[in-house]
Amino acid sequence: MPVIELHELEKSYGSVKALQGLNLQVPKGCLYGLLGPNGAGKTTAIRIICTLLSPDSGKVIVGGVDALSHPRVVRRSLGYVAQEIAIDKILTGRELLQLQGDLYHLATSQTSLRIRELVERLGMQTWIDRRCGSYSGGMRRRLDLASGLLHRPELLVLDEPTVGLDIESRSVIWQLLKELISNGTTILLSSHYLEEIEALAQRMAIIDKGRVIAEGTAEQLKQQLGGDRVTLRVREFSDEKESEMVRTLLNRIEGITQVVINQAQGFSLNLVVDSEQVLPRIQEELNKAQFPIFSLTQSRASLDDVYLQATGKTLMDAELEVASQRDLKLESKKAMR
């Protein structure tokens, strides 16, 4: 039985549709990655799983329990680590963990025992009794992780856990996550870093515009794409018309599939080729039709290509696009109760 099941989740903030029929199944004991640009709906989905938010429609089952009708049962078995969860600057890290223990109704002796364990495992000995206000980003995130793990949840949910972290903190956190997985904890981790998902996740879903657009292991996703990736630019900056013409031309060449025009990258063309032998043929055909070639590069399929294939833009470009449209007021409204 999957630990998380989401069925047809819909959620809107006013006229902004954050989730549009999101379906997800996270199997037990696996580190599952949610990959997508900012604004794709990752955080909204995670807030719903953690019972912080109700969907407009759809079903949420966590650990076999309906999270919408029995949120408290879900909260007991779930640890949540997120950027928007604040720490109290006036308290020390230890005091915050003690508070957390009381909120999860642990016995005092149990709390102090587990705090000692986590302090050691996450290397917090030297600063755990300092006030949180003096912590660096990496220390804060380690403390967040400790507070999410204090009640030994069966499911750990991390929203962008290592954004902007120092290397030491990142490696400490990654190491701990791997240990947790081997001990049978299920972990859901969202990120817009391909590298992070690729390094940690056993399975993943790629999310775009509030929907899952691809799902599976990294290998499966890449295999589905098949072949090598080629990026072709006839000029540094082409226009739509020219790229369309080149696309028509390319579609006639044998061994080329899935020609996508990447609008954000100056209408460059992304294509999949069966073998390396196709490259000289491309050059030949372009010369014949008197198209110039600015650049022609070839690479193995990556997760970014999976995203590109499904959406027609790279993750980075989607990221930039969203960043420019970000509505700060809406953001704070979403995070605030």
Partner: protein
Amino acid sequence: MENTVDVYAQGIDEQGFILEVLQETLALTRRLYLQLLRRPSTLVAGIIQPLIWLVLFGALFSKAPEGLLPGGMTYGRFLGAGVIVFTAFSGALNAGLPVMFDREFGFLNRLLVAPLRSRSSIVFASVIYITSISLLQSLVIMGTASLLGYGWPGVSGLLVVLLILLILVFAVTALSLGLAFALPGHIELIAVIFVANLPLLFASTALAPISFMPTWLGWLAAINPLTFAIEPIRAAYGGPLDLGITVLHAPYGDVNGYGCLSVLMGLTIGLFFLIRPLMNRKLA
């Protein structure tokens, strides 16, 4: 709060319910005290401000002709009751601020993902904290007033004073917590507190009796909840305790001590019922 329904469905005597609510409430209250201990400026300011009122304002009218005030009391003695009530009032009015900051900074989310047995714990913790702090501030003011020679209410009188302050603090805390969940941010909350504070003081009998006021202001003062807290306390300071005697000569008639207490009680209960649906929605 949403859990109240759950709890009733499962039977209120579900094992450990009270213990768990107690555990989470105490932990949340402890956090508020730790904050105060490490940042005591609000507590100190909350004591200094009424002291300044007491000393400076008391001195302002110290040469007022005798017999001007009801019962022939000195102005300092008259003012004492007003400043005590004002201290408790303005302390409780700030009750919503920590909650508002928790909303804004996202600390509330930490509490909301936790399996709290009852989310009322969040409200309980604020009420316990603010009540104890407001009463402490008021006691300091009462002590200082007695040192200044403005009198002391005696044992039974003191109990009445504390009871009245308790009811008032509950009412104002409810109001402030309601605002903390209804308003969009701390700037708005501070603005409301700022605007509410002084006019409520001036339009009450804290600084002058109704007989000094023009009719319209007298009416305002006579319906101001602060007046219903001030007058019985003033009476408790004035002599042997008797809640049956008239303490307020309002334009609409005389009100005795019991009447004042009932009005305050009614106000508190009314406010708690008023903010309940809002809390239920925000903490659901």
